[in-house]
């Protein structure tokens, strides 16, 4: 039997911009076990509810993660709105959907770039991030912020998108989609990429389900779970079908995200054409009394905000479960059997977001 050695991976490492630590137990070049340890960016955000009023906490919720910031704000706001029985105007629902899908687009393009980088495909990394900048331009134009938007609030949204800007966005979608399809074509059909990804880090449908995988990690293994199907915000009106692949390897998880980019473009297109007129927000009075599990589909999977109010301006408890936390047990299952050189690719295939995980 070959000798076992332990190789530490992280917290500072060139694969991800964020710190995660894995102890990789190797036999020669093959991983036999991976032991994760987290906590390097734990801040203690859940207890900030004691110091921030429930309306102010939206800003903190946005900063749980700088990539899916809008969706955290949305998830939190929806939870409070549900507890306080606030009816949000339709136009706000549609605007929230557009910004959510823009966030998903920029997150997936960001991930595709990092994933290409982990394979050593530098050119593809640069092209993905170049495309991503056009999404950030739209976000900056419509919200004022590139990565932290600050437009979602309890009771609606803070800003409108004018008819002229909506028309401009609609016109820009076709050329943008063509560019995305060019890019996606490389990820899906390039022989080198396929060689690198197919059959790597396989997790079966049953395992993915049993280990509680979320988002593209689950959908790549054939678990058709996408929280957008439940129809929060405007997804109920627009109609939505989850993107599912069945192979359960790194290639399948990549394919899910590539196809979700196309799906997001389609959702934005339909949301713009069906945008209703009306007000942007309703006045929020009183304080939340009650509890609610608020769930939203983020680029990485389903995020859960559990909120409990006790009739005061400060919530009694907030508990946030993010998709990466759910995807770490599947990751630990995927790594054994992989070569050491493939570890960065497998780790990235779950799209880890550590600042979400550790809050």
């Amino acid at each position: 039997m070959p000798e076992r050695i332990i190789v530490p991976f992280g917290p500072q490492h060139p694969v991800l911009p964020e710190p995660i630590h894995l102890d990789l137990v190797l036999e020669d070049e093959t991983v036999v076990e991976a032991v994760p340890s987290i906590g390097y960016i734990h801040r203690g955000l859940e207890r900030l509810i004691e110091k921030r009023e429930y309306t102010e906490y939206v800003y903190v919720a946005e900063r749980i993660c700088g990539i899916c910031s809008f969706m955290h704000a949305l998830c939190y706001s929806q939870g409070i709105e549900e507890i306080m029985k606030i009816e949000v105007p339709d136009r706000a629902h549609y605007l929230r959907t557009i910004w959510s899908e823009c966030s998903r687009l920029h997150s997936h393009l960001l991930w595709l770039g990092l994933f290409a980088d982990s394979m050593g495909f530098e050119n593809l990394f640069m092209r993905s991030w170049q495309l991503r900048e056009s999404v950030l331009d739209v976000l900056e134009d419509t919200t004022g912020g590139r990565v932290i938007q600050g437009t979602c609030k309890v009771g609606g949204v803070r800003r409108d998108i004018g008819a002229e800007k909506l028309a401009e966005m609609h016109r820009a979608l076709d050329p943008f989609e063509a560019q995305c399809r060019d890019l996606g074509d490389v990820f899906l059909n390039d022989e080198t990429v396929k060689y690198r990804l197919q059959g790597l880090g396989v997790i079966s449908k049953d395992e993915a389900y049993a280990l509680g995988a979320a988002g593209p990690t689950a959908r790549g293994s054939g678990v058709a779970m996408d929280h957008r199907e439940t129809g929060y915000a405007a997804y109920g009106d627009l109609g939505f079908k989850p993107v599912v692949e069945t192979a359960g390897d790194c290639y399948a998880r990549c394919a899910v995200r590539v196809k979700e980019v196309y799906a997001s473009i389609d959702l934005i297109r339909r949301a713009i054409s069906e945008m209703p007129e009306g007000s942007l927000d309703v006045k929020v009075k009183g304080a939340p009394d009650g509890e609610y599990f608020s769930r939203v589909e983020q680029p990485r999977g389903e995020v859960v905000h559990y909120l409990r109010g006790n009739g005061t301006k400060h919530l009694a408890r907030a508990r946030i479960r993010t998709p990466t936390l759910a995807n770490i047990p599947p990751l630990v299952k995927m790594l054994p059997g992989a070569q050491l050189a493939d570890v960065p690719v497998v780790v990235l295939s779950i799209d880890p977001c550590i600042s979400c995980t550790e809050r």
Partner: protein, 161 residues
Amino acid sequence: MSTMAFLKRSPWILHYDASSCNGCDIEVLACLTPLYDVERFGIINTGNPKHADILMITGGINELNRAVVRNLYEQMPEPKVVVAIGICAATGGIFRECYNIAGGVDKIIPVDVYVPGCAARPEMIIDGVVTALSILEEKRAKMTGAAQIKDDARQAAGETT
């Protein structure tokens, strides 16, 4: 030519996320990609602290990363410059009242440049790096100056004995 005259060398950057929300980190990465493309100035993001001239840190200090940040800083060769990216790295920002946040990066290592913003914009980050470059040159001049003085003194001592 004259506008680029301050760039005498190719500074390599080490980026570490202390406890940031990711917002500033993706903006740091955005600086390296086609729209901003700082690699045209010879600025490269390296993963190895021993190769780096400039340490860019995002986010505040917490109990677990305290030792990591100090370790990275100590591994970097002199002269070195530390750039704190974003308001969290400066003071702890929106998270400063969290129980696990000790404060800004300057609680444990000396910081030379503070880049404001939440999240810091790529333009601001590039501006911060350019400021860091002149500080790096100053530090280098001071080091070589000190080495020269020592050398002169040794020579003078050698002549008398």
